[in-house]
Structures are given as C-alpha cells and as structure tokens.
C-alpha cells in the first residue's frame, strides 16, 4: 500500500479507479432496486429517476413543473441572499472599524449564532407567513453570519500601515471604510459571500420542506407523501445541481479576485 508514495498513480490509473468507484456505486444502486432486493417503490433505479426528471420538466407536479418550482425557489433565494449580503457586509465592515459597535453587536450575535437557522422556521412562519417573507427570513438567517464574520475579519486584519497612512492624510471614517477597508478586505468578503450562498441555499431547502406552497422543497415533500420516490430523488438531484452551479460560479469569482490581488 505504501508504494503509493514511491510511485503515485498515473492519470490513466486515477481515471480508471474513479470510473470503477462510480460504476460500483451506480451498479450497487441499480442492482439493489432492479433485483428486487429493495422494493422499487422505495429505491427507483437511476433510469427511473432520469425518466421522472424528464417528465417533471414538462408536466406539472404539486401545482407546477420542476423548472417552475426551481424558479420560485431561486426568486426567494435571491431576495434572502441579497438582503443577507446587503446587511451583513456593511455591518461587518463597520464593526471592524468602530470598536464600540463591535463591543455592542458581538455578544448579541454570539448569543443568536447557536440557534440553527432552521429553528427560525416556526417563528418566521408566524411573523411573515409562508409565502415569501418567511422563507426569505430563513435564507437570511442562514447566509447572514458568514457575510458578517468575513467582512468583520477582513476589516480587522487590514495591514495597520494602510490605515495609519490614510489617517495621517486626514481621511475621515466613512472614506477610510469605503476606500481602505472595503478594497483591502475584498477577498475575505467574497469568500464569505460564497459560504453564505451555500448555507442560504441549504436553509431554503429546509424551509421549503416545512412551510411553503411552492418550490423544489415543497415538491419533494409532496412526492414523499404520495410515496413517489423518483420525484423525491429528482428533487434532490435538482437541488444538488443548482447548489453546485452557484458554488462553481462564486468560486470562479473568488479565484478571479484572488488572482487580481496576487493572492493565488
């Protein structure tokens, strides 16, 4: 086994091993449902899921087609995430600059942080209803902490000589924040936005499972109560794909920003 350090596997070997891994995963899945070892009702074959996904693309289930459900989810997601970024990043920067604000907000933030975002769902439902307000609040509570923390840390760890230079030249607080702290902590902020985006998407799915009348999560719950396992798995695939696209997109932006800064 330790030969792996003396001779690392070649690219061809890696690809082959990867293909074997994937094939055995899919083969196991397929074999278990096709052989009847697990009832097909509970474990559809990969093909069943594909066929169901195709069906859902054009035919409505739980009141809408899959793209329509996705569109509803993404709309809420966009509002919630923009709100989290719009409040979290400026607040984080301000906390990084004004020590008194830091001292005020930090204990409150730390106290609330341990409440899982999903635990806000019943409260959000009572306050803002289950249409758009409630889910937005849930996405906000999921995406907000990384936005705030990264902006704050980015601002706190800006090289002191830049701040001193700016102050020596008589720059005011607002201008220092906008023209020194914001650009200097930009890579940290973008990283925080990426983490927040992932957590926000997760929280949205959770919120839609519990309270919603449309969206992918709602579609999955309906699939679950109709014992339509292919619908549930198709929903999982759709959620995974959208999450992956969001992540890859933001990773590109992050890599671009870091590259511009000469950080990577």
């Amino acid at each position: 086994m330790r030969s792996s350090t003396t001779r690392p596997p070649s690219t061809a070997e890696r690809l082959l091993l990867g293909a074997i891994g994937l094939a055995s995963f899919l083969g196991l899945w397929w074999g278990m449902s096709a052989s009847g070892l697990v009832a097909k009702q509970f474990l559809p074959t990969p093909l069943d899921v594909l066929a169901r996904t195709q069906y859902l693309l054009t035919e409505p289930f739980a009141g809408a087609t899959l793209p329509e459900h996705l569109a509803r989810s993404l709309e809420r997601y966009a509002y919630g995430f923009l709100l989290a970024a719009g409040v979290g990043v400026p607040l984080g920067l301000l906390m990084g600059w004004f020590r008194w604000l830091d001292a005020m907000v930090t204990p409150v933030f730390d106290g609330l942080r341990f409440i899982a975002p999903i635990a806000w769902v019943p409260f959000a439902a009572l306050w803002f209803g289950t249409g758009i307000g409630g889910p937005i609040m849930i996405i906000f509570s999921g995406a907000f902490p990384p936005c705030l923390i990264n902006a704050y840390r980015g601002a706190r760890f800006v090289d002191a000589k830049y701040i001193e230079a700016a102050r020596m030249l008589g720059t005011g607080s607002l201008r220092t924040i906008l023209e020194v702290l914001l650009p200097a902590s930009f890579p940290a902020i973008v990283a925080g936005l990426r983490i927040g985006a992932g957590l926000g998407w997760q929280s949205l799915v959770g919120a839609e499972l519990i309270v919603a009348s449309a969206g992918v999560g709602y579609m999955m719950v309906q699939g679950q109560s109709n014992i339509s396992t292919p619908t549930v798995v198709a929903g999982m695939v759709a959620i995974g794909l959208v999450g992956l696209v969001i992540d890859v997109f933001l990773r590109q932006i992050e890599a671009f920003v870091r590259h511009r800064r000469g950080l990577a």
Binding site: F42, I118, W120, F123, Q202, L209, Q224, G235
Partner: protein, 257 residues
C-alpha cells in the same frame, strides 16, 4: 480596554432586554400575540419544564434530541475520520472514492429528509440517517485535508526509522492531522443540530423540533421562543464539551492558545 468592551456588551444586552420588556408590556408597541413578552416567555418555560408540552417535559424533549445528535454524530465521525485518513494516505483510495463523493456532496443534508422519511418513517432511525449524512461530509473532508497537509519530512522520518503502518497512522498521521480533524468535528456537530431540528420539524414524535412544530401549529409564540432558546443552549453546550475534549486531546496546542 477589555473591561470597557465587556461593559458595553453587557449594557447592550441589558438594554435590548429592557427594550423588549417595555415594548411588549408597557407601551404595547409589539403585539404580544405575535411576539411574546418576557413574562410570557418565563411562563412558557415554567410550563414545559414542569407540566410539559407536546407530550413531554423540556428535559425529556431535550434528552431525546441530544441522544439522536450524539448517535448520528458518533457514527458519522467513526466512519468519516477513518475514511478521510485512508483517502489522505492513499492516492489510489482517493481516486476510487472521490468521484462518488463529488457526486453526492452537493446534495444538502436537509434534502435527504424526505427520502429518509420514505425509507425509515418518522421514528429515530430516519433522524439518525439524516444526521449521519450531514455530519459525515465535514469529518471526511477535514480529516483528508489534515492528512494531506502533513509535512512529508515528518512521515519520511518516521518511515526511515522503520515505523509500521498501523503505528504510523496512530502516532504520526492522527496527531498531526488532529487540529483539522477537530475543525471537521465542530462543523459536523453544528450540522448535526441543524439537520436534527429540521428533521424533527418535518415530522417527529418527540424532541425539540417537535416542540417548535406543535407550538407553531398552536400559534403559541412564547413556546416557539422557548424551543429556539433550548436549541441554541444545547448547541452551545455540546460545542463547549467538544472544545474541552479538543483541549484535552491536543495538550501540545495549549501553549499557543
């Protein structure tokens, strides 16, 4: 500086609590039907602690949730850490497992809940399965990253001295990767609580998520708040326990902290 900072923090929290009391109980600006007053909160807390709510007392619901978190988390760590060690150690194992991992990983743990309910029903087994999926990924990834980050010199020195494979894993790989492993465990623990609460909100017979769910259906905001506070308190307490374990397990890092 530290004292003035603490003082500002305490003053802020105190004034927020005072503001809460005044707005709900004195001026009535906030409708107590939607946002409970401190007194209502206290009464609900007393109610669930003594007579119980949603078929159990606060203690029994808490212990039920805690038990599931500990079980799911332990199984996930027991499978995830060795798998991460193996993938970090052997490039072949990584090449074999990683594609499957990449395929499953983008699916958020919460999205497994409907499938878990279909497969295992509303009982404890479904919750443990979902917690496992949530806690498994961070354990594997961080252990893997930790092993890959070990300086090759350290491993080579051990090998040159003729250290066997098992001893190398136990005395070199695990201690060197320990900080990353614990980072992974902390993330796993957080994910466990989030997923458990979500799973219990979707459907459960006992637990803190059920308290929240029943309170929402009864339109009982004070009890919702008690449930949230309990979730936060337990999340905090289990994180503290893990931090103590971490400090005990890695005494050599205490010098730095």
């Amino acid at each position: 500086m530290q004292t003035s900072r603490d003082w500002i923090g305490t003053a802020t929290v105190a004034s927020l609590l005072a503001l809460w009391a005044v707005l709900t109980m004195v001026t009535g600006t906030i409708d107590t039907l939607r946002f409970p007053s401190p007194v209502q909160f206290w009464q609900s807390l007393k109610q669930i602690a003594t007579t119980g709510y949603a078929d159990g007392t606060l203690l029994s619901h808490s212990l039920h949730s805690l038990k599931l978190v500990i079980m799911g988390f332990t199984v996930a760590a027991a499978v995830g850490i060795p798998l991460g060690l193996l993938m970090g150690w052997s490039r072949r194992a990584e090449a074999l497992i990683n594609p499957v991992f990449l395929l499953v990983r983008p699916i958020p743990p919460l999205a497994w809940i409907p499938l878990a309910i279909l497969w295992l029903g509303l009982g404890d087994a479904a919750k443990i399965m979902v917690i496992f999926f949530a806690a498994f990924v961070p354990s594997v990834i961080n252990t893997f990253t930790g092993v890959r980050g070990i300086e090759p010199n350290v491993i080579e020195a051990a090998r040159m001295l003729g250290t066997g494979r098992w001893r190398l894993a136990r005395e070199v790989l695990v201690p060197a990767a320990a900080p990353m492993i614990f980072t992974g465990l902390r993330l796993s623990l957080q994910a466990s609580w989030t997923t458990l609460v979500a799973a219990e909100l979707v459907g459960a017979l006992a637990g803190l998520g059920r308290v929240l769910n029943v309170a929402q259906q009864d339109i009982y905001p004070a009890m919702v708040m008690v449930g949230m506070a309990a979730v936060g308190a337990w999340g905090w307490a289990t994180t503290r326990v893990l931090a103590v374990v971490e400090a005990r397990a890695m005494p050599w890092l205490a010098v730095r902290a």
